[in-house]
């Protein structure tokens, strides 16, 4: 078979496959629901200042008011108020914003560095053992340890946590990007590109990156939920976001003292985290199953 035939065969193979992955995704009702909810949550977070009925930091005398559907609740504060009389719905909207932002920035930084390293090591086999060794070393620091270490040095705050989550994302991401990249580099179009004298940079940009980016993105979406959970846990411990900012993990921690009288102060932000992470996990799983079953292992 000539190169041309292989290419045509690949194109023929790809055209129906492209249409069918959308169909497969649309047919997965659970995943569509998760995607819809996730989209709504992201929109709500983005437009928090417009949607929030109250100033998230404004205290009121209505302290520890339960949500509207319970006996003593009222519809003014739909999700009730916290220990300082702040409107929980407004704080949830802003808190989701910060929680999502922390995870997104961390995944973004870690994803770019990690996949850059992985793809480079798939392109230059001489680099490979070094990158992999560095990777093994970084794998020895679980995210929570990096978080503790960063906070020990820089003090509690959002940035140390973002830094820790980003660094913790690098090794896994590099490993996946490398294995995807090796697959792409063995394709004949790379050889063809080399033969017509394209520079390494062009090959990297036009072929390697373009052909591996979707798989890398799927992997990152699978990781997203975990990053949110670790970030929220660190903030819950008081190591992340600082008051008066609202962050979902920190909000849950603030409700701990009122667990007996006003369990909703803990429950509402916790359930919010659960819904976000669940939707992210279900969507990521479905995307992977449909688009790239190779990542399944």
């Amino acid at each position: 078979m000539t190169t041309m035939d292989v290419r045509n065969a690949a194109l023929v193979d790809q055209a129906p496959a492209r249409r069918s992955w959308w169909k497969a995704l649309l047919a997965d009702r659970g995943a569509m629901l998760a995607l819809l909810v996730l989209t709504l949550i992201v929109l709500a977070a983005v437009f928090a200042p417009l949607l929030a009925p109250f100033d998230p930091n404004a205290n009121s005398r209505a302290v520890m008011q339960p949500p509207a559907w319970s006996e003593r609740g009222n519809w003014q504060h739909i999700l009730g108020t916290d220990g300082q009389g702040r409107d929980i719905l407004s704080r949830i909207l802003y808190g989701t914003r910060l929680t999502l932002l922390i995870a997104l920035v961390a995944i973004g930084i870690g994803g770019v560095i990690g996949s850059g390293l992985g793809l480079l090591s798939s392109m230059y086999p001489r680099l490979d053992p070094w990158v992999m060794r560095l990777n093994d070393m970084m794998l020895s620091f679980p995210a929570i340890l990096l978080g503790l270490a960063m906070v020990a040095v820089f003090g509690p705050g959002v940035w140390p946590i973002i830094l820790a989550l980003a660094v913790a994302s690098i090794p896994d991401c590099a490993r996946i990007a490398r294995s995807i990249g090796i697959g792409v580099m063995s394709q004949e179009y790379i050889e063809a590109g080399r033969a017509v004298g394209l520079t390494d940079w062009t090959i990297f940009r036009k072929y390697l990156l373009r052909n591996s980016i979707s798989s890398i993105m799927i992997f990152l979406s699978l990781r997203f939920g975990q990053v949110i959970l670790i970030g929220a846990a660190l903030s819950f411990l008081g190591l992340g976001a600082r008051p008066p900012a609202s962050e979902l993990g920190m909000m849950a921690a603030q409700g701990r003292d009122f667990l007996l009288f006003a369990p909703h102060i803990v429950a509402v932000p916790s359930v919010a985290i659960f819904i976000i992470v669940l939707c992210a996990n279900v969507t990521g799983d479905a995307l992977r199953d449909v688009l790239d079953p190779r990542l399944k292992s």
Partner: protein, 313 residues
């Protein structure tokens, strides 16, 4: 076998150095001048300079790193700024409880996860399978602190069956067991989901292999096929997964210990960091990191034992 272990040990050495360097860097990066702290706020610059010389702080960084390792080897991790006890003595007291918590969480969650995953694979596509898979996705999406607080509310306050503060004593005493019940339940719960999922996909893969077909063909019962030929081989990736998830478990342990005021390394670490007790923070992070390396080492060795193919590579 021995070769595998030695190889693996060799790989751990640079990692260990990385960890030690991290610990060292923590001390270096910590705010405040140790010599100034030692000398007190009223000391003259000359006295501070002299103390700096005595402490070796005027030496090049690499020499200081060497000294640091020398001190570590002697078990000298400095003193806690808050309690003024030696860091080593604080750490030794906290290691046991953390290990107990890990064991108490894994000992029930791993068998349950494996059983659930196997049954889900055997009854693939059934309602049970779908329920287990849905539960495990939900399980990995729950924040650990929420699980802890719900269990406290339910089994500690509403139905006061278990205490939820502190540690009652060693694991083999009744009081110790009662106290560790809720933390171990919380921490184990987050582990069942991943184990069940991994077991299911692994068993499904193995059941497709030729030797399973042969076992069926020679007339073994389905039960024998699954237990003797399926599960045994399917557990190898599960062991790897458990190793990979130890970091995740560690994170859970830090949160769980803090919520239950359980006197382990995790709580010690969080407390030290929040109160800017740098020597203690550094010690706890070192112990956690080294513990993580050791567990990974054990998992890798176990893996090589379970899978003869690994040794040949």
């Amino acid at each position: 076998m021995i070769e595998t272990i030695l190889n693996r040990l060799l790989v751990s050495i640079p990692v260990l150095f990385g960890v030690l360097f991290l610990g060292f860097a923590l001390v270096q990066l910590a705010p405040g001048d140790p010599a100034q702290v030692q000398a007190g706020p009223t000391a003259t610059p000359e006295v501070v300079a002299q103390i700096r010389q005595e402490m070796g702080l005027d030496q090049p960084v690499i020499v200081q790193f060497g000294r640091y390792i020398e001190r570590l080897a002697q078990g000298d991790l400095g003193r806690s700024l808050i309690s003024n006890k030696t860091v080593a003595s604080e750490l030794i007291v906290a290691i046991g409880p953390t290990l107990e918590l890990m064991v108490a969480s894994l000992i029930w969650s791993i068998p349950i996860g494996i059983a659930m995953g196997t049954l889900a694979a055997v009854w693939r596509g059934s309602l049970f399978d779908r329920a287990i898979m849905a539960l495990s996705v939900a399980g990995v999406s729950l924040p650990i602190f929420f699980i802890c607080l719900v269990l406290i509310q339910l089994l500690g306050v509403k139905y006061p069956i278990f205490p939820f503060i502190g540690r009652g004593g060693p694991l083999w005493t009744a009081e110790g067991l009662r106290h560790i019940a809720l933390p171990a339940m919380s921490l184990g719960l987050i582990f069942i989901g991943p184990v069940a999922r991994m077991t299911r996909s692994s068993v499904l893969e193995v059941l497709r292999l030729d030797h399973v077909r042969t076992a069926r063909a020679k007339g073994l019962t389905e039960r024998e096929v699954i237990l003797r030929h399926g599960l045994r081989n399917a557990l190898i990736p599960v062991v790897t997964l458990i190793g990979l998830q130890i970091g995740y478990l560690l994170g859970g342990a830090v949160v769980t210990e803090t919520i239950f005021s359980y006197p382990g390394i995790g709580r010690l670490a969080v407390g030290a960091i929040l109160s800017a007790d740098f020597p203690l923070a550094q010690g706890t992070i070192l112990v956690l990191a080294i513990g993580f390396i050791v567990v990974n080492l054990i998992v890798d060795i176990l893996y090589a034992r379970l899978d003869p193919r690994v040794q040949k590579k």
